[in-house]
């Protein structure tokens, strides 16, 4: 696997590893069957993500994208954070090997899952923003390739 220097840096020195014990919201996605699980804790104050921490079981790019995704949403408003896409995460890492693109989806999904919990808990979910969480409906980790 040829990883970019950025990926290697975020893998070897991941930012924001850990738990937030008094987290405003948490999200956990993925499953062991597919080989990666990501958990994100967010601390939200006045509509701003003031802290984000993660724990990830997964391959190099799963860990690197977790690190990068949490970096990217820190200090952002909820609306801004909801705009985070897996493509943006992968680009911020100078790209990922094609076979690893699904890992960046995991990071987007984990952040959204945490935000969804926050929206649900705080009654922020409504008809106009509901669609932003659509991706959590189907299992983004269902690789769908024919296995042989």
């Amino acid at each position: 696997m040829e990883y970019s220097d950025k990926v290697m840096d975020h893998f070897m020195n991941p930012r924001n590893v850990g738990e937030i014990t008094d987290a405003s919201a948490s999200g956990m996605v993925g499953n062991a069957k597919c080989g990666d699980i990501m958990k994100v804790d967010l601390k939200i104050e006045n509509g701003i993500i003031v802290d984000a921490k993660f724990k990830t079981f997964g391959c190099g790019s799963a860990i690197a994208t977790s690190s990068m995704a949490t970096e990217m949403i820190k200090g952002k408003t909820l609306d801004e954070a909801l705009e985070l896409t897996n493509k943006a995460v992968a680009e911020a890492l100078d790209g990922l090997p094609p076979i690893k693109m699904h890992c960046s989806l995991l990071a987007e999904q984990a952040v959204k899952a945490a935000l969804k919990q926050y929206y649900d808990k705080n009654g922020l979910m409504n008809e106009s923003n509901k669609h932003l969480f659509d991706m959590l409906e189907d299992d983004a980790h269902d690789h769908g390739e024919d296995q042989h």
């Binding site: 190099g60 390739e145 042989h148």
Partner: protein, 395 residues
Amino acid sequence: MSTVKRVYLDHAATTPVRPEVLDVMLPILKDQFGNPSSFYHRGQVAKKILEEARETVANCLNAHASEIYFTSCGTESDNWAIKGVAKALEKKGKHIITSKIEHHAVLHACEALAGQGYEITYLDVDGDGLVDPEAVRAAIRPDTILVTIMMANNEIGTIQPIEKIGQICRENKIIFHTDAVQAAGAIPIDLSQLPVDLLSISGHKFYAPKGVGALYIRKGVRIATFMDGGAQERNRRGGTENVPYIVGFAKAFELAMAEMAESTTALQALRDDLIEKVLKAVPYTRLNGHRTLRLPNNANFSFEFIEGESILIMLDYMGFECSSGSACTSGSLDPSHVLLAIGLPHEKAHGSLRVTFGKSSEAEDIDRMVDALVKIVARLREISPLWEAFLKENK
């Protein structure tokens, strides 16, 4: 890449060409370029070189030279054995017995046949990766035409009871193929004793180059051609012969046999040292594969709560070249079919590491490797939500 000392610990994936082998190949690559099928002197020289190599390979297996057919790799040998018997005996039946832990060369050849109306029984293995010979017997049907069970597994190193399985096949008059790609050159194979009809070998597992193999076909065994073409290999395998590689293959095999006692002792010492130290130093770790019925150079671990690729990248960064599962699926997202077959849950199957020693391995590498692993595993567990959950549960 960093400039640390690089330690190659993936000899099951491939080995370098050893100097003695390159030495016998070079003059042929440079000068003896004749086509062994050619009539004139130069061709006959090549032919003689080819036949001497065949004799050497036959001697390594205690077989007859006329039973050795050169191929382009272990995969070809496996494909030929399986598809060749299937085709030759299709009138007799279309049932094939194999195991769940075969190499993809065997499994995918069987799947290709399944798509053509053959029925494949994939035998389970036990927690150590062993096939039960009695399960082979129980699976045999009147339409069974072939049993194909590997001699030693490429991931977990477990060595199968080939003699017993072969005996059962013989009692039932069923052709028995064994993929000995990992076994050849590593453990003794005496075909004058072993009840094996077809046996696959590949050179690059014992210091010959990649791209040359052999299929042993016991005299009298019915098998169709796979590579149809010219009259090479006594009309059974077309394609102009790769004389330099074949000569290298024979030389490497001969050296491996001559050095086997010595190298087995050395490799086993390294293997056992690593296994003992890793199991001691890294908690929640299991050894995959049979503790003693295993290839002398193979160690395979599952580190709970963490994922294999992460381990590999860090090891690579620290200079250790190992693999997780088999090399040819390392680009894949699927966990190893072998580890699932021995009963590991997915998360443990994802967290495996294969270390395979070889000629270049040194005792001093072991401690450095164990140190590295301790650090890496600790680091990755710190990041792992599974570890976090486990700690909370067990507080």
